[in-house]
Symmetry: C2
Subunit: 460 residues, 2 copies
Amino acid sequence: MPMFDHVEKLKEFIHHPSVSTDSNFREGMRGAREFVARLLSGMGLQVEVVQTATHPIILAERPGEASWPHVVIYGHYDVQPADPLNLWLTPPFEATIRGNRIYGRGAADNKGPLLANIAAVARLLEKDPRIPLRITFLIEGEEEMGSPSFPAFLEKYKERFRKADFVYLSDTALPSENQVVITCGLRGLALMDLHVTGAKMDLHSGLHGGALRNPIQALAEICATLHTPDGRVNVPGFYDGVLDVEPWERAELKKLGADEAAYAGFLGISAFHTPPGLSPFEAVRFGPTLEFNGIGGGYQGEGTKTVIPSKAFAKISCRLVPNQSPATIKRLLTETILARAPKDVKISFVDQHQGETYVVVPPGRSNTPKDQPPILARAFKAADAAVTEIWGRPPLYLREGGSVPIIADIKRVTGLDSIMLGLFLPEDNLHAPNEGFNLDVMKRGIDTTERILATVAGSR
Amino acid sequence: MPMFDHVEKLKEFIHHPSVSTDSNFREGMRGAREFVARLLSGMGLQVEVVQTATHPIILAERPGEASWPHVVIYGHYDVQPADPLNLWLTPPFEATIRGNRIYGRGAADNKGPLLANIAAVARLLEKDPRIPLRITFLIEGEEEMGSPSFPAFLEKYKERFRKADFVYLSDTALPSENQVVITCGLRGLALMDLHVTGAKMDLHSGLHGGALRNPIQALAEICATLHTPDGRVNVPGFYDGVLDVEPWERAELKKLGADEAAYAGFLGISAFHTPPGLSPFEAVRFGPTLEFNGIGGGYQGEGTKTVIPSKAFAKISCRLVPNQSPATIKRLLTETILARAPKDVKISFVDQHQGETYVVVPPGRSNTPKDQPPILARAFKAADAAVTEIWGRPPLYLREGGSVPIIADIKRVTGLDSIMLGLFLPEDNLHAPNEGFNLDVMKRGIDTTERILATVAGSR
C-alpha cells in the first residue's frame, strides 16, 4: 500500500460516527474500527481485533528481530458524543475543510493525531520496508468511556509488549501551532461520592424544623472542613511524600509565557485561589487538589418547597501528583470525613474510579532516573531534535493537570514509559461543538513522528 | 335546606378533583367551587365568587344587625396533587369509606374539616333560623399554591369583615382523636435562594483544578458558617427581640405527653440536634430556624464527571417566631453572607416569598393582652367548654411550627385574631398517598363548632 493521502483518510475516519458511550452508534464504532484495521493491515501489519466487554481493541504488530527497538503506539478510535448538534456549523460526522482546518467530531480527539502517527509509520515503511523497528499499535474504542476494559486487556496481553522500549502517543495538547509540548506527567485521580442521610424521609420544615440536623447543613459543614483558608487540602496526610517541583520544571513552564491576566479573563474570575507557593499555572500542573464536582439534595426547582430533605450528597474528586496513591488518599479522605461528621447523621460513600499519577523525566534533568532505559532516552533526544528542526523551536517538557489513567496503568503493568507529543490546539474544541484539527499541525506531526521513529530505529 | 348528610356531602366534595397547581384540573376546581357555593347558597347565605389571578375565592355572608357577633370562617376548596397514584389503595378522587375513616385526596386537607364547619353552621341555622350571629365564609382555591391572590383580595375586600370579631378555622392538626389542640401561634417564613458563581463556564477539573475556588466549595464554606456547633443560627441579630417561651406554654406542651424516643424513631434519627434550652418538641414550636431546603450544582448523575462547575446554589428558609420580621431576617442573612463570602466568587440572591409570624394568646394567661376583645375571649372560653364536654378533656393551647401566612395577613390587614381548632390526625396522610379523615372526629368537630358558635351568639 502506497503512502496514503492523510487528509482524505481523516475525512473517511471522521465519517464513521464512533461514539462509544451511546449504543445507537454501534455501526459507527464498527465502521471506524474496520477502517483502522484495514488501514494497518494494508500497511503490512498483523492486525488482531481483541474483544472486550464493550468495544474491541485493535492490536496491530510489525514484528521483527529481538534486537530491534520496539515502540508501542497508542490511540483511540472512539469519540465524544456530538450534541448539542444545533451548535455545529457543519454536520459533526461530515468532515468539512475551512481554511487550514478540518472540522468534525473526533478530528482532534483522537482521529487526526492518531492518523498522523499511522501516516508517519506508513511513510516510514514505504521508504524503508526493512527498517529495523518493531511497532505495536494499541488502539482502543473505550477512551471516552474511561477505558473500562483496558486494565484487564493489559494484564492478558502484556507479554506482547512488556519488553518494548517505550510508548508513543499524540493525545495531549500543544499551546500554539508554533510550540510543541511533550507531556511528562499526568495527575492521578481519586473519586468518590459522599452521602449524608438525616431523617428517613423528607420532612416538612415547619413541623420538624429545629429538632434535627438537616443533612444539607451536615454536608456543607463537612465539605467546608476539607480546605484550609489559604487553599490547601485539609485532610491529614494528604501531602505526605509529595515532592517539591523541580526548578527545571518551573523554568520550563515560564518559557510557555502564559499570561495570568489573560487566564483570569478566560475563566471569568476576579482572582485566583491557589495553594501557597504555587502560581495558577503551577497549581494546575504540580499541585494536588480536592474538588467538588457536584452537589445535590432536597428541592432544586423554581420557587420554594419547605422541606428538610432526607439525603444530600457531594461528588468529590482529587487530582493527585507523584507519590500520592489514590487508594491511600481515598482512605484518608474517608477517615477524615467520618471523624469530622456530626454523629446525628448517617455517612456513606460510593467509591468511584481512580487513576495513578504518572511522571516521566526526559534525559539530562536534575531528577532523571539514573537507570533510564537507553532507547527511551534516545527517543526523547530524537523527539527534541525533530521538533526543533520541524517546528523551529525545541519542545517544552511539562506535566499536565489532566489524567490519562491508562498511561499509568501501562507503566504499572509493563514498566513502559510514554512519550506524549501533543498535537491539538486550544482552539480545537475537544468535547465541544465544532471540534476541528489544524492540517498544518497534522502535516508537521507526521514529519515529526516519522523522524523520531526513524532515529529510534537507527536508520538516520 | 335541611341539615345535610355530612358524609354524603364530603364524598361529593372529594369527587371534584380540585388540584389548584395543575391546570389539567380546571374542571375539578370549578366543580368543587360550585359545590361549595351551592351548599352555602342553599343554607341561605349570600354567595359571591370573587375572581382572582388564578382560582376564585368564595365569599358567603349571613348578614345581620351590627350588634350581633360576627365570625369569619376560613377554609380552602383546593387540594394537593394526588401523585404518586400507584401508592393509593383506592382512587384518590373516589371517596371510599373503610372503618370509621373516609379516604380520598383532600379528605383531611381541607375538605373534611371545612365541611364540618359548614355543617355546623347549617345545623345552627336550621335549629335557630334567627340566631343573632353574622357569619362570613372566606373559602379560597389557592391554599396549596401559597395563596398568591389572598393579600390583594384582603386589601380589596377588608371592609366586609374588618369589623368582625374573630376568624375561625379548622386547618391544623390534633395529636390524637381524644385530644384537641387549639393552635395559638404559627411560625413566620423568610425564603431566599443563594447563588454562587465561579468561572464563567464549567471547567475540566484536570486542566484547571488548583487555580480557582470551586463555587460548590465556596457555597459549602458559606453555608457552614450559618449555624453554631450547638445548633443556633449564626447570623448576627437573628435572635434580637425573640421572647422567651412562657412557662404556661411549656407546661401545656408537657401535657401533650409526646415521647422523644418515639419521635426519634418516627424520624429515623439517632439523636436530636436542637438549640440550647429547647427540647425537640419545644424547638419546632418556639424556636426559629435556618434550614437548607435544597442544594445543587455541577454533575449529579451516576458515575463521575470531573468538572469544576460554574455555579452552585442553596435554597434557604427561615422559620421565624414572634418579634422576628421576615424582611429584617432576609436583610441580616444577606448582609452576613456577603460579609463572609470569599471575594473570588460572585454572590447573588433570589428573593422568595415570606410570611409574618402569628400568635394569639387565650384569655387568662400570663401574656394575654390586656385589651383582648371581649368576643374573642368569649369564643376561646366557649371553645374550651365545648371541647371539654364533647371530647372529654380540655383542649391544649399550642403554637405550631408550621406557617399559615394568610392568618398573619388577616391579622395585619384587619386586626382579626384566629381560633384554629385542629381536626386532622397524624395518620391522615396530608399531602401524601391514602389521605384520609376520621369520621368520628368529623362528627365531634361539627358538634364542637356548632356549640362554640351558638355560645358566641349568646343563644346558649
